[in-house]
């Protein structure tokens, strides 16, 4: 282990225990919001199950913190199922989470579109149905860097996941039924698009080696959140050139009505500091306004990350009044909090 940690610039004990130890720390820091069930490896909202409330759960590989455990709390997720780093959780986790949060009104599974996540959630949903829990699943696939097609795995789920969890969580908190909450997740996914870029790779604790090697001065365009290489590699441009690429990719695919209200989410990949994210936001905001669009809400920070990767992603959600109201509704989780 000493050897492995020496290959990395990480605070780490036994690499195999990083997920469990980080979750234990999350629970120790936020006992008022959530509890960590170490046996089932799930993070559960403290007051779950809420009788009569539709419950939301999500999950996926770890390494994307605060996603998903940091979004468990009032007005967002009822439970999170963290897998090993970059490896989707197993059906037993989703089943345990589903049963722990079901208040009788049904449970929505928010699934990022990765084969592993989709297949494991599928098996879990079957098991849950066998046990008589009403479960719906929505697959998030907002990453425009991936060309979609009937014959492929389709687009990845990235930034829109955070927005869907917040917005649908507000709907559930306000008493919406299973069909309506499910539909809200779908609407966010339909009206949101994302595009990410990396300035460095990241180092999974287990291997202790960078996933890909990106020389200084080069940039990966169209990356996901698992340290995978992007669609193409280019030489590093100025921030405003990078913003042009991100905004054009997202807007040309989303095709928002001109003059429409947008939620703009500038996300850091884990190793990029806020001084740069705000610089990017300034460029994005100006470019969108020039295009006749209205960034009326925004989120700037590292909310869906790829370990310590240097990089950023842009997610744009076209808002309507209801989505705006649900975004503004109170939320109280370790990573997102307002109105309470």
């Amino acid at each position: 282990m000493a050897v492995e940690t020496n290959l990395m610039r990480k605070f780490l004990n036994e690499p195999a225990l990083v997920v469990k130890q980080s979750l234990a720390g999350l629970a120790a820091a936020h006992p008022d919001l959530l509890r960590y069930d170490a046996a089932a490896q799930i993070v559960v909202r403290k007051d779950a199950p809420k009788k009569g409330k539709v419950a939301l759960i999500s999950g996926g590989g770890s390494g994307h913190e605060p996603l998903h455990g940091g979004f468990v709390g009032t007005g967002m997720l009822d439970a999170a199922c963290p897998g090993e780093v970059f490896t989707s959780p197993v059906p037993a986790q989703m089943l345990a989470a589903t049963k722990a949060v079901d208040g009788g009104a049904g449970v929505v599974h928010i699934v990022k579109n990765y084969t592993g996540d989709v297949l494991n959630f599928k098996l879990a949903a079957e098991d849950a149905a066998d046990e008589g829990v009403k479960v719906t699943s929505v697959v998030i696939d907002d990453d425009v860097a991936v060309q979609d097609s009937l014959y492929t795995a389709g687009r990845r789920g990235v930034g829109a996941t955070v927005l869907a969890e917040k917005i649908a969580g507000a709907a559930a908190e306000s008493g919406a039924g299973l069909a309506q909450v499910t539909d809200t997740v779908k609407r966010v996914n339909e009206r949101a698009r994302s595009f990410g870029v990396a300035l460095s790779s990241c180092v999974p604790p287990a291997s202790g080696k960078p996933i890909f090697d990106l020389p200084e001065g080069e940039i990966e365009l169209g990356i996901g959140i698992h340290g995978e290489p992007g669609r193409k590699r280019a030489t590093l441009q100025s921030a405003s050139d990078v913003v042009d690429v991100m905004v054009d990719a997202v807007i040309s695919d989303l095709k928002p009505r001109s003059g429409s209200n947008l939620l703009v989410f500038v996300n850091g990949m884990g190793g990029t500091p806020l001084i740069e994210l705000y610089l990017l936001y300034g460029e994005v905001d100006a470019k969108l306004r020039k295009a006749g669009l209205k960034p009326v809400r925004n989120l700037v920070g590292s909310y869906i990350t790829s370990l310590e990767m240097a990089g950023a992603s842009l997610t744009v959600l076209e808002l309507d009044d209801e989505l705006t109201r649900l975004w503004d509704a109170p939320v109280h989780t370790p990573a997102l909090r307002w109105g309470v």
Binding site: G61, G83, E84, V85, F86, T87, S88, P89, V90, P91, A92, Y114, T115, G116, L119, N120, K122, L123, A145, V146, Q147, S149, Y151, T152, A153, R156, P204, A206, S207, K209, I211, F212, G224, H226, G227, E228, P229, R231, K232
Partner: protein, 210 residues
């Protein structure tokens, strides 16, 4: 062939996956997320432990237990895929205490069918299917031609490895590698690679049968 053949098969998979762990990780790092070796090693280590605890179950039951164990320990794409595959294969054998070459072919065919059903991948999508499907066909063909099971399974291993190498020029249409589009071309698929290891492990298990 009997329960011991299955136990040996799983032990053989565990040791060769462990031996090839870093290689599988490298292959997955190039076009995926670099965890395939860790995933398979973790899963089959658990399988070997589970089977060690299980005494006296028939071979089909052992495969079902192995499949369940993979599903509950691997995560990722390969966990549910190989987990369902072994479960489906095990159901074919029911409670029979022994099985012959044709039944073994049925097991692998059922495994392939469940992988394709769950993952919706076809031949040429640059997945484990590209190694498993040729293996099943070779096994069936040689048995139909009257070859002994050892020779037939040996041919299946060769076919699996050919299918594995054939993934190199392909552009991935399923799994993480598909996100890379054309950049996935020129890399060997990690899942097809571990699939070839699994077929070769079966060959050794069959050869060592009592």
């Amino acid at each position: 062939m009997d329960a011991a053949t299955i136990t040996t098969w799983m032990t053989e998979i565990e040791s060769s996956v462990r031996a090839e762990k870093d290689h599988l990780v490298q292959l997955d790092a190039a076009i995926g997320d670099g965890d395939h070796g860790t995933n398979m090693a973790r899963g089959f280590e658990a399988v070997v432990q589970a089977l060690a605890a299980d005494t006296g179950s028939p071979p089909g039951r052992l495969l079902v237990v192995a499949g369940r164990t993979l599903v509950s320990t691997v995560g990722g794409a390969s966990g549910p895929l190989w987990g369902s595959a072994l479960r489906a294969g095990g159901r074919v054998l029911g409670d029979h205490a022994t099985f012959d070459g044709d039944q073994l072919a049925d097991v692998l065919a059922a495994a392939l069918a469940s992988v394709k059903d769950l993952g919706t991948a076809s031949l040429g999508d640059k997945t484990m299917v590209d190694a498993l499907e040729p293996a099943v066909e070779a096994l069936r063909a040689r048995l139909a031609a009257g070859d002994p099971v050892d020779a037939a399974i040996e041919a299946a291993g060769t076919a699996a490895e050919a299918g594995m190498r054939a993934t190199i020029p392909l552009q991935a249409r399923k799994g993480r590698a598909s996100y890379l589009g054309e950049r996935s071309i020129g890399h060997q698929d990690p899942g097809a690679t571990s699939t070839a290891l699994i077929v070769r492990a079966l060959q050794r298990a069959v050869a060592n049968r009592g």
